[in-house]
Symmetry: C2
Amino acid sequence: MHTPNKSIIPVTLTTLKAACSQCNLRELCLPYGLSASEIEQIESMVGVRRRVKRQQHLYRAGETFEAIYAIRSGFFKTDVLLEDGRDQVTGFQMAGEILGMDGISGEAHTCNAVALEDSEICVIPFAHLERLSREIQALQRHFHQVMSREIVRDHGVMMLLGTMRAEERLATFLLNLSQRFTTRGYSPAEFHLRMTRDEIGSYLGLKLETVSRAFSRFQDEGFISVQQKHIRILDIAGLKKLLNHPPS
Amino acid sequence: MHTPNKSIIPVTLTTLKAACSQCNLRELCLPYGLSASEIEQIESMVGVRRRVKRQQHLYRAGETFEAIYAIRSGFFKTDVLLEDGRDQVTGFQMAGEILGMDGISGEAHTCNAVALEDSEICVIPFAHLERLSREIQALQRHFHQVMSREIVRDHGVMMLLGTMRAEERLATFLLNLSQRFTTRGYSPAEFHLRMTRDEIGSYLGLKLETVSRAFSRFQDEGFISVQQKHIRILDIAGLKKLLNHPPS
DNA sequence: TAGCCGTTTTGATTTGCGTCAACACGTCCA
DNA sequence: TGGACGTGTTGACGCAAATCAAAACGGCTA
């Protein structure tokens, strides 16, 4: 039971005070559109930063809902489970995006959030967010926009699942990732997939073999180069041509 | 060009003042959980009632977003369009439900809302809703829950589209309708579909022929009786047994 | 360095749903 | 009353993706 005194507080539960005003994600995240003084108020709302290691859950379906989470760094997936064991990945989230809004409607979260790489998140106690957004109009406005954006995104996924064929789904997925990496200052053409083929398939309503075959075809056509999880987009126009060509 | 004087104001644009306190939907709709005096304040927010005739649009994708809408009576569908003409029904909405939240994230609506029968809606100017929900905590809370519920519902549809086979999708759809009619005081076992087979198919990611065949099979099995748009559920347990049986 | 395990790729085969086509039904209007 | 049109049903056939199977790859650790 001898514990070196410096490790009494586990490093994985860092309770660093958040500093939105210093955060380079503030234009992507909740503080968007706020004045400097308003951002200071926000900092009091954002409780702490928390590290979540790869494969760890940030929250699970059924857990009491208390806070939403802003991703400071890292990569997450959310998924829902059916009683019979089937599950569906409902989204992949990256830095600056908000997690946990599914829990607002009830007492508990309705899906699982799992880190796909070591990540850091800012905890935003929901009661605190509601209190502040009654005072700061710009915060209220932006939070509503964030929730609405999630609804619009979901409609896009429904469209994808309901009307697109396999290759069009994967092309849409890659172009979406590329665009989001670009917004965050990364290369639009070269990136590392954090998720497995199985997880991509679950999100796109396809089996992993189908995802793999589509990747191979894209490579054969010269649209992309694939090496395991490393993707390089070689012909963005080629990928985009796969879109908007209805099956019938 | 002779116009009878009594029809100068078209009847379809009734500008009746809303009266939430008298409305029998208040426990399903936005005023849920508010005190009598708070509901009075709400009435000032809800602008007017408007009639929307069958097949008319309540709003269209691209139109400037200004208000959300509470359905007082009637039935709607929402759908999104792809440039190439493909479209997907994203939802069917009935009395007490809220329409238009897709528009909050930007300047404009991102989908179309069409009445599937003559309907009446309450117009809720969004700026007014935000102002009031800064003052009335219970309203703020409930509005957030309504938005979150929409996100959770969308996740359910993604699950349906991503993992279920045709008959399971249709059974889920029928059970969901039945449940919502029940909540509204109608029969859980007998109802009238307001949408065509094509619209059901679009929502469920199936072709209309597949929907029709599934209806026929359900009837053959004795789960339901179908006569055009009139549905009678004969064996709810039978329908439920179709759920939770994964394909593989 | 060898051996194991999770992940990915590729091939052969099956199948559920889409597609195409014909016909039945109900409603509207001439 | 009849014919046109929108909607729904049913059958025959084809195809995209699922399923089943096996082997290759890369990252571990013993």
